[in-house]
């Protein structure tokens, strides 16, 4: 019933990998690569987003996502402010809508939203004129994680086209997996989902990925992407697997399951000894710290892309205000010049 309501929010936001096309992904990754060079300089700060305001609105605990968004904005000279639900008016029962309206009154350029409920970033987008970046909404999407994963793969393996990526574990509850499957599809890589039948969502093949319950099927993959196994999935009434012990025996990634030449990734935080063996996590095959590093440059690239780099998108959104007519900051016109 696409004629009833627009299925995809306009692309002045980054709410879902669905908002992006291949060109967008490649442009963001190229920008991230160019920005990497700036991180090696003695003075790491760029003036690109001077005078812009980036607000981080986090309703869920986070270390690496919040830290990297905050640092990414600062490295680009934006003013930043981070609000967590604890200690804010949310504690007093303020609705997400009212919090969004309150923040909107300060006229931020970007609001980065993390929330436990699916649809929260869309609600903020409906109620403010800021560009919204989804930093994780429930089990739905975590698009910047997928982009930083692609960046990490491209840096480590030199290509994305044709890569085979086995995503192992609790796909059902994973926003990381959903975003990554879509992102891999956009750049011509293949995703294979591997896990117990109870943790593989019914109908997920429609996203263009293969599905297997056999851990042996990861042997042909270039990348083994290990998902976090959350202990609460074994809570009473939520027993998706009978025990962590059996899960680890069947799907845990130990040294015997990684073939030479494969790389191993994990979005963190890791449960060592459950979904990933410490010997794998600490091996040369593991790209976990590369992923964390990529998080910074990719989030810088995402902010740059929304605020500076995508002229074609300007004016395509439903809510266009004076913001779009402001003079762009007189800095870095194209990413490659930064290199």
């Amino acid at each position: 019933m696409s004629e009833l309501r627009p299925p995809v929010p306009p692309r002045r936001h980054l709410l879902s990998i669905r908002d992006l096309e291949r060109d967008d992904v490649e442009r963001i990754l190229d920008t991230a690569q160019a920005l990497s060079a700036s991180l090696d300089r003695e003075v790491k700060k760029l003036p690109t987003l001077r005078g812009r305001t980036v607000v981080n609105l986090f309703y869920e605990s986070s270390t690496r996502t919040l830290a990297s968004f905050e640092l990414a904005a600062k490295r680009l000279s934006a003013d930043t402010m981070s609000l967590r639900s604890a200690g804010s008016s949310v504690d007093k029962g303020e609705s997400l809508k009212d919090t969004a309206l309150t923040l909107a009154a300060y006229d931020p350029d970007v609001i980065v939203v993390r929330h436990p409920s699916i649809g929260a970033p869309q609600l903020v987008a409906r109620n403010t004129e800021a560009h919204i970046v989804n930093a994780g909404d429930g089990k739905h999407q975590h698009p910047t994680q997928a982009l930083l994963d692609l960046h990490t793969m491209r840096e480590a393996l030199g290509r994305l086209e044709g890569l085979q990526v086995a995503i192992v574990g609790d796909v059902l509850h994973s926003r990381v997996a959903r975003s990554l499957i879509q992102a891999l599809g956009l750049v011509g890589a293949q995703a294979l989902l591997v896990g117990p039948p109870t943790l593989l969502p019914r109908g997920v093949e429609a996203l263009g990925c293969a599905v297997s319950t056999d851990i042996g099927s990861i042997c042909d993959a270039d990348v083994v992407y290990v998902l976090r196994m959350q202990a609460e999935r074994m809570a009473a009434g939520e027993a998706f697997v009978p025990s962590l012990r059996e899960y680890t025996a069947l799907y845990g990634i130990g040294p015997d399951r990684v073939r030479p030449g494969q790389v191993v990734m994990h979005p963190g935080p890791m449960n060592r000894g459950i979904e990933i063996d410490p010997r794998v996590a600490d091996s040369g095959a593991a790209l976990v710290t590369d992923q964390v590093r990529a998080g910074l440059v990719v989030r810088m690239a995402v902010l740059y892309d929304l605020l500076v780099a995508q002229p074609a998108v300007r004016g395509s959104g439903p809510v266009e205000g004076a913001r779009e007519n402001r003079d762009a900051p007189p800095v870095l016109t194209t990413a490659p010049e930064m290199a």
């Binding site: 309501r5 609705s95 869309q122 997920v204 996203l207």
Partner: protein
């Protein structure tokens, strides 16, 4: 007596147009004169652009009173019903307090007699407090005016209690209307299990969560030889179970909502809280099974499951939003636009399933067009186009899945129980 509304005048008026009453096999251009609420003469007339049909009956409406009078009241809900062409509605008992005692029901009946523009029948609960533990005093509730029994909003979880309800309700002669949902299968579910829920990460509410309960309840009703009515069916598997029961001669009927007939779970991609319902919107395949069952008559009623919610409660992230949408004021136009105009359903079938069909299931007088009959008429302008807006609703709530949509076909006049209750 199971329908209650404010006593008042009986009106006299004349309507004319293409008179279409499929249950009576009438399709002629006629002038109908209503004198003091009763059809006094019917005579040939010259054609105009209007259709005059027996007014509609909605067997599934949430009036939210008592407890949530900010969302709907008997007054606002029946004004909305009048604007939708309805001459009677059946209200659900999942209020606060629950309609599970003669005292609560009696108070509602009194209120309806004071303020209902359109007659209301009140369903009473099957179990006290909808807790699924003890039966309500069904005989006393029936004597106080209950129209049927239901725990709508939740299933009767215990098969044992369901069986006793079937047995005991026989004393009341009233049917049980059942919300079929197996809670251990639907728990945490926010959308139909399929490609859309897999992609969006929404908790899955599989078709089997409905159909296994439909099958259980049909098995029990068949064994007890009692009449049941299956509410708001959504899944192909449920339709298959219904067909099997009908072929065995069980006394079973079923209803379907406009939103399940028009939308599929693809609409959920918008993450708009106004496409979140229980049962959820399902697949194209399910929708086509529902349309087919409606055409065949296996599903004999269209029910809106009109479920008002306060604006602030729907203006939240999809996952946090309550289930339910309003439908009284848009049902005819939505189905005319999306099913009749594209040739999916005949106008005659639509009118029958919105009027005579529900009347038969609940033992209400069928709205008829005949000299001497009490006037219950919906006058429809099929060519009229109108846009659904928040400001346009008579309902106190505006949680419609049709906001912003332009529809074809409009109710221009409604006569309910001899009174002109709506005029566009």
């Amino acid at each position: 007596m199971t329908l209650f509304c404010a006593n008042g005048r009986s009106d006299s008026l004349v309507v004319e147009g293409r008179v279409l009453s499929p249950a009576q096999d009438i399709d002629e251009t006629l002038r109908i004169t209503v004198t003091d609420g009763v059809i006094s003469t019917i005579e040939p007339a010259s054609a105009n652009e209007l259709v005059v049909a027996p007014a509609f009956i909605d067997p599934h409406v949430h009036l939210r009173t008592p407890g949530r009078e900010d969302e709907e009241t008997p007054r606002s809900g029946t004004e909305a019903a009048a604007a939708g062409g309805y001459c009677a509605i059946l209200a659900m008992p999942n209020t606060d307090p629950v309609v599970d005692s003669a005292a609560v029901l009696g108070a509602l009946v009194e209120r309806a007699r004071e303020e209902a523009a359109v007659p209301i029948g009140f369903m009473a609960a099957i179990s006290k407090g909808l807790r699924g533990e003890e039966l309500t005093e069904m005989v006393e509730l029936a004597a106080t005016g209950a129209a049927a029994f239901t725990d709508d909003g939740r299933p009767v979880e215990s098969a044992g209690l369901m069986r006793r309800a079937l047995q005991y309700s026989g004393l009341s002669k009233l049917p049980l209307a059942l919300h079929c949902e197996e809670p251990t299968l639907s728990r945490g579910g926010h959308a139909h299990e399929g490609a859309v829920s897999a992609e969006l990460g929404l908790g899955a509410y599989p078709s089997t969560a409905e159909s296994v309960m439909v099958e259980r309840d049909l098995a029990l009703a068949g064994a007890e030889d009692r009449q049941i009515h299956l509410m708001h069916l959504s899944a192909r598997e449920s339709v298959a179970a219904l067909d099997l029961a009908l072929s065995r001669g069980f006394s079973v009927s079923a209803e379907v909502t406009p939103h399940h007939l028009v939308l599929t779970d693809e609409a959920v991609r918008s993450l708009d809280p106004n496409v979140k319902m229980n049962p959820p919107l399902r697949s194209e395949d399910d929708r086509s099974a529902l349309r087919d069952a409606l055409r065949r008559g296996a599903i004999s009623c269209i029910a809106t499951d009109h479920a008002p919610h306060a604006r602030q409660e729907k203006d939240v992230p999809f996952e946090e939003a309550p289930f339910g949408v309003i439908g009284l004021e848009t049902a005819f136009a939505a189905l005319y636009t999306h099913l009749v105009v594209p040739g999916e359903l005949s106008l005659e079938t639509l009118l029958e399933r919105m009027s005579a069909g529900p009347a038969r299931v609940f033992g209400l007088d069928e709205p008829r067009i005949a000299v001497g009959a009490r006037a219950n008429l919906a006058v429809l302008d099929l060519d009229a186009k109108w846009t659904v807006t928040e400001e346009g609703f008579r309902s106190l709530s505006a949680n419609s899945w049709l906001l912003g949509e332009t529809l074809r076909g409009r109710v221009v006049k409604t006569v309910a129980d001899g009174r002109l209750v709506y005029q566009a």
